[in-house]
């Protein structure tokens, strides 16, 4: 007999995200992965600033809020102080790829034994949809009203490719576009936590997530855009797996 499909115990009744936001879905997947491995009591989540800090309204694990962009540094400290804890960071693109780029890369460079969840929705969500490093070419945002001009502001920033250059355990980019890709995202997050529990080192999962509010789209159209447009620039798949080398 198949198991009942229940809401994970870590997931709160109501969360603070907009309708259709991918953060709620990723939070639920993280809670499922932790509970399937029986480590929810040992989990410590580290988040910083932006919409991603509202993850504490979804996943009610033990939490620390770091300063803006500094979640990797705090998670490194938690890892050293509490070797038995299951540590993960949860950051958006403005947090991990813009202000906290240095911390993100140095944590990967040291191959810290924790799991990094990086949510890429291409805008600064909480502050009102300004252009982020990850914004696509030609994408209209509050600070690129004619579309992003890459001759002035540079190309869309690919943090996962950069992290894959470091001596880390695992890097994968996933998407939330449909049920199949969501299942793949769950497998990737599961593997990232398995790596941590086996002491293999730093695992980095980038997740392409929709922001219907700031993309000014219906939620369903925003999920479709992930596959039609965003995944064309940010290629999905495993970028690094130390087991296969």
């Amino acid at each position: 007999m198949a198991k009942d499909l229940l809401t994970p115990k870590l997931v709160s009744e109501l969360n603070r995200f907009c309708p259709g936001c991918g953060h709620g879905l990723i939070g639920k997947i993280i809670a499922q992965v932790l509970e399937e491995r029986g480590v929810e009591d040992r989990a410590i989540q580290v988040y910083a600033v932006g919409c991603s800090c509202l993850i504490s309204t979804v996943v009610q694990a033990d939490s620390i809020q770091a300063q803006h962009g500094r979640a990797p540094a705090v998670a490194s400290g938690v890892r050293r102080a509490r070797p038995d804890a299951v540590v993960y960071t949860y950051q958006g693109d403005g947090d991990a790829a813009a202000i906290g780029l240095s911390e993100s890369l140095y944590a990967a460079y040291r191959n810290e034994n924790y799991t990094a969840i990086f949510v890429n929705n291409g805008v600064f969500g909480m502050t009102g949809g300004q252009m982020a490093p990850t914004t696509l070419e030609g994408q209209k945002t509050a600070t690129s009203i004619y579309g992003r001009d890459t001759s002035v502001t540079g190309q869309p920033f690919k943090l996962a490719e950069l992290v894959a250059q470091m001596p880390v355990a695992y890097v994968e980019r996933c998407s939330l576009t449909d049920a199949k890709h969501i299942a793949q995202t769950k497998r990737a997050i599961g593997k990232a936590f398995d790596n941590q529990l086996a002491g293999k080192g730093y695992s980095f999962i980038e997740i392409l997530s929709p922001c219907p509010t700031n993309w000014k789209m219906e939620p369903v159209d925003a999920y479709k855009r992930l596959q039609d447009i965003v995944a064309g620039e940010y290629k999905l798949g495993v970028l690094k797996d130390s087991e296969e080398e």
Partner: protein
């Protein structure tokens, strides 16, 4: 027989489950929940209890339990 439980108070009417449902069994109802959203409803005859809505819902509206 499995039963699909819908926590209507959690629903934000984003419609992602309606888009992903393989049998088109879900639709937005005409009752509003406490947050002001027209919560999702299921056509029990069409539903095959596959659990897709449970997997894709961002707000944990669905549960699938054995009766």
């Amino acid at each position: 027989m499995k039963k699909l439980v819908i926590y209507k108070n959690r629903c934000k009417a984003c419609g992602f489950c309606i888009d992903q449902c393989p049998k088109d069994a879900l639709s937005l109802g005409d009752e509003y929940n406490a947050s002001g959203y027209a919560a999702v409803t299921v056509d029990e005859d069409e539903c095959i209890r596959c659990g897709t809505c449970y997997r894709v819902c961002p707000d944990s509206v669905f549960e699938l339990i054995e009766e």
